[in-house]
């Protein structure tokens, strides 16, 4: 494992334990300095990356159990996907001069899709990223969630043969409301929160 791979993995494991970005920056800087003066490899100096991340997180007052998946990012991605889906449905219904209808089959597939994404896709993506890649957890997880949710929502009625309409609303109202939701749910995706920063000497 190269120094870069070790440190990339360390960042992921510290993030999963909710260590703030500023603290992570300081921990990385100190670790890099240690390697520079000792001539050791990261594994020699600090041991297995997950164990080291756990010990550092506990020393900073964080819990010793990592999140198996980043809940906040999942919620943001889900809200973003749901608002896009609603907007597309509303635009199509508006063009056809129909109201937006939510069927039981759609509801079932959305709930199953969310369950699958939360319990299977996201933990798998996070585990993959922690072992193989240094960055991109939110993007990978979001894409995975969107792909699965799009698939199941698109096939929802047909999968469950359940076309019973649960909700019906005027398309223009839903279009405007969902457009607001699309914009609002983009804000957390665009805004850079809690970056890893080098300490100032």
């Amino acid at each position: 494992m190269t120094d870069k791979t070790y440190f990339d993995d360390l960042v992921i494991h510290l993030r999963l334990r909710r260590v703030p970005g500023e603290e992570i920056g300081a921990l990385l800087e100190e670790a890099r300095h240690h390697l520079q003066v000792s001539g050791e490899s990261p594994e020699e100096a600090f041991g297995p990356v997950e164990d080291y991340a756990r010990d550092l997180a506990v020393s900073k007052g964080m819990g010793d159990t990592p999140q198996s998946w980043p809940r906040r990012e999942f919620m943001v991605a889900t809200a973003h996907f749901a608002s896009w889906y609603l907007l597309m449905s509303a635009v199509v219904a508006w063009a056809l001069g129909e109201p937006v209808r939510v069927t039981r089959g759609m509801m079932i597939t959305v709930l199953l899709g969310l369950l699958l994404a939360a319990k299977v896709v996201w933990p798998a993506l996070v585990a993959y990223a922690a072992r193989k890649q240094g960055s991109g957890i939110p993007v990978l997880a979001m894409l995975g969630t969107v792909a699965i949710a799009a698939l199941v929502v698109g096939l929802g009625d047909k999968l469950f043969f359940s076309f019973q309409v649960l909700l019906s609303a005027p398309a223009p109202v839903v279009a405007v409301g969902s457009l607001v939701l699309v914009v609002a749910s983009m804000i957390p995706l665009i805004r850079r929160g809690d970056p890893v920063k080098r300490p100032e000497a």
């Binding site: 670790a31 890099r32 300095h33 240690h34 003066v37 010990d55 550092l56 000497a201």
Partner: protein
């Protein structure tokens, strides 16, 4: 010192040992590990040292400052705070008393089984 010593022994006393070394003045992490090794505690790896330093920093027993490195990573220096000195004085005495008690017990037992 025996390098096969139980690591749990060191874990309990390492914060006090670090604070003891810091009575000599401010140090950075690797320097501390060398001085602890020179004192006979054996090799203290970064994976053991830095979490302890993080804890005593969070507890306010040490203060830190960063010094930029010449083209490399910055150094983080640790120095004792007043709270750290009090902790060292109180905790050090408690540890010495405990150590004396354990040593008395062990000496008697080791002598007994060694006969």
């Amino acid at each position: 010192m025996n390098q096969r010593r139980d690591p749990q022994w060191l874990r309990g006393v390492l914060p006090l040992c670090i604070l003891s070394v810091l009575t000599e003045g401010e140090q950075y992490g690797y320097d501390l590990s060398r001085k602890l090794e020179d004192a006979g505690l054996g090799s203290i790896k970064g994976g053991t040292l830095y979490p302890v330093l993080g804890r005593i920093e969070s507890d306010g027993l040490v203060a830190v400052r960063w010094e930029s490195g010449a083209g490399g990573p910055s150094r983080k220096y640790y120095r004792l705070t007043d709270d750290g000195r009090s902790f060292l004085a109180n905790g050090g005495n408690e540890w010495l008393e405990f150590n004396d008690t354990a040593a008395r017990l062990l000496r008697a037992a080791v002598a007994e089984v060694g006969r």
